[in-house]
Every structure is written in C-alpha cells, then in structure tokens.
Symmetry: C2
Subunit: 163 residues, 2 copies
C-alpha cells in the first residue's frame, strides 16, 4: 500500500490522490483522507456563514480538477476532484462595525473524489480535521449520510461556485 | 498614455498595472482603476460577513504580490499589490438550515498599490464596480477617507490574511 500513500503535487500546487494509504498517520478514519498540500493557495469556490452555535465563516476552495468542473458545470465531479472547506470563528471587526471577519481557525474538511475507492459512499472520501488531526470515527460516520440525504442531486456536494 | 493602459498578465493570471490609463472605458473615477483580468482565480485572503442592511458575504482575493506580502507580513504592501473584494447577497441555504451562502453578486471592489501614482491617497487607487461598471465619483470620494481613518496603521487595508 505504500505507493498509494504518495502525494503527487503538480506545478499548480494541487495534491492528487489526497485519499492516502492506510499507513498515513494523519488520515481520516473510514476513508483514509489526508489534508492536501498547498490547499490554502487553491482557488475559491465560495464563502459561507454557519450560524450559531458554531458561528463560523467558511470558505471552500478546490484543486484545479474541481475548479474546472465547477466552471464547466460538470456533474458528477471527475475523479481527482478535491474540495477543502476552511472554517474560522466569526468575530466582530474591531475596525468596521458592520463587518465580521475570521478569528481562530476551527476545522478543515476535505472531500476527495475517487469513484472506485469510495464507490460505497457516492464516490467521495471525507476527512474532518482539527489542528491538523482527524476527528474520531463516530464523527466521520455522519459525513456521507448527511450529504446523501441533502445533496445527492448535486453529486453529494453542498457548495456551488459563487458567481 | 496608451502604453500605460496595457494590462500585463503573468502565467499565474495576475494582472499587473490594474490602474489603467485615462482612456480605459471601465476605469474608476478619480483613480482610473479597472477590474483586473483573472481575479476570480486569485488566492483567498479572507472571507467576511457584512451585516444588514447590505447583508452580504464577501471574499477578498489577491494577486501574487499581495499574497506574498501577506504571508511574509510585509507592510506597507509593495507596489503592484492588487486586492479584489467580491461580494454577494447572503441567502439561506435551501439544503442546510444553519448555513447561508452567496446569492447574486453585488459589487467588486479593487485596491491597487502604486506609491507614486497614488501618493496623495496612501499609495492606493480604489475602484468600486457594479455589473462591471464603476460607480460614480461621489462614491469614490469616500474610499480613502474611511480607509485612512480606520486602518492607516495597516497600510490602509482592512482585510487580514485568514489563518
């Protein structure tokens, strides 16, 4: 399985094969998904706000496969698509009253499309990370059920490309 | 002045010299700033929420000069920095109750650093655009006064790089 754990990084900074092998130390339970290298520099899909009690600002970014699929309206997303959702506590701007802005980072959430490896979960592998470490298996058991119930018609992906 | 109106686009999609010449048809009043090519693919600085009555989700992106400056903590921002703020009406997600997401695009706002050209306004040129067209001169008169009053100590830039 060692070869499956390799991360292939393109010139554009995309990490392909972000769903890594079983020996990866920071891989998610169930799926073996890791945080892809360079995701902080990926292109923006859309921001979002999560209400209380989480009270978070979010931003979904995608690798080049993801962005090309969004722009072309390609569904289902092709294998190799990787989406990352960044999240921060929402805090009042101290400089402009009507604005609120990112505070501390909270979670990083990753979806990786591999229609063969993840055939049982709509072709998607999931990973939720806090401080770079995956959360427990119980939390990962909830990912697919919710995506399947709510956005099966959009290939299990909530976020749309912001115009 | 024709040569000044040219847009120089790098391989990374950055538009340099986004403050264009006086003959640009879609340039902002006072500053002559235009919407830079390819900004929708620029890297994310941070998302934000703007409260009522605007009720908007925002995302600031930057060209490569901007992102490098943010990551290195460089202040003031170097000449060639271009920041773009995208904004959308905030709408309830129809698929996940706690989330709100981008609706229709509203404004695109641009800041261009050129310490000589814009010496009278802290080195920054400003542009606010609706449907790709600059808003009127009266609105552009307000840009620098507010940035100067509130964030002079951060080189007149509100947005910080989200961790």
């Amino acid at each position: 399985m060692a070869v499956l754990a390799a991360i292939f990084v393109t010139a554009a900074g995309d990490a392909l094969g972000a769903g890594a092998g079983s020996e990866a130390t920071n891989a998610s339970p169930i799926y073996g998904v890791t945080i892809p290298d360079g995701y902080r520099g990926w292109k923006l899909v859309a921001p979002a706000l999560e209400a209380d009690p989480l009270n978070e600002l979010r931003a979904v970014v995608g690798n080049s496969v993801a962005i090309e699929a969004y722009r072309a309206g390609t569904l289902p997303f092709p294998d190799g698509t990787v989406l990352v959702k960044l999240a921060w506590k929402r805090v009042q701007s101290p400089e402009f009253e009507p604005a609120s802005v990112p505070g501390a980072a909270t979670t990083v959430q990753v979806m990786v499309k591999d229609s063969k490896k993840y055939a049982a979960t709509g072709g998607w592998g999931f990973g939720r990370f806090v401080d770079g470490k995956p959360v427990d298996e119980a939390q990962h058991q909830t990912c697919f059920a919710c995506h399947e119930a709510r956005v099966r018609g959009h290939d299990h992906v909530f976020t749309r490309y912001a115009p």
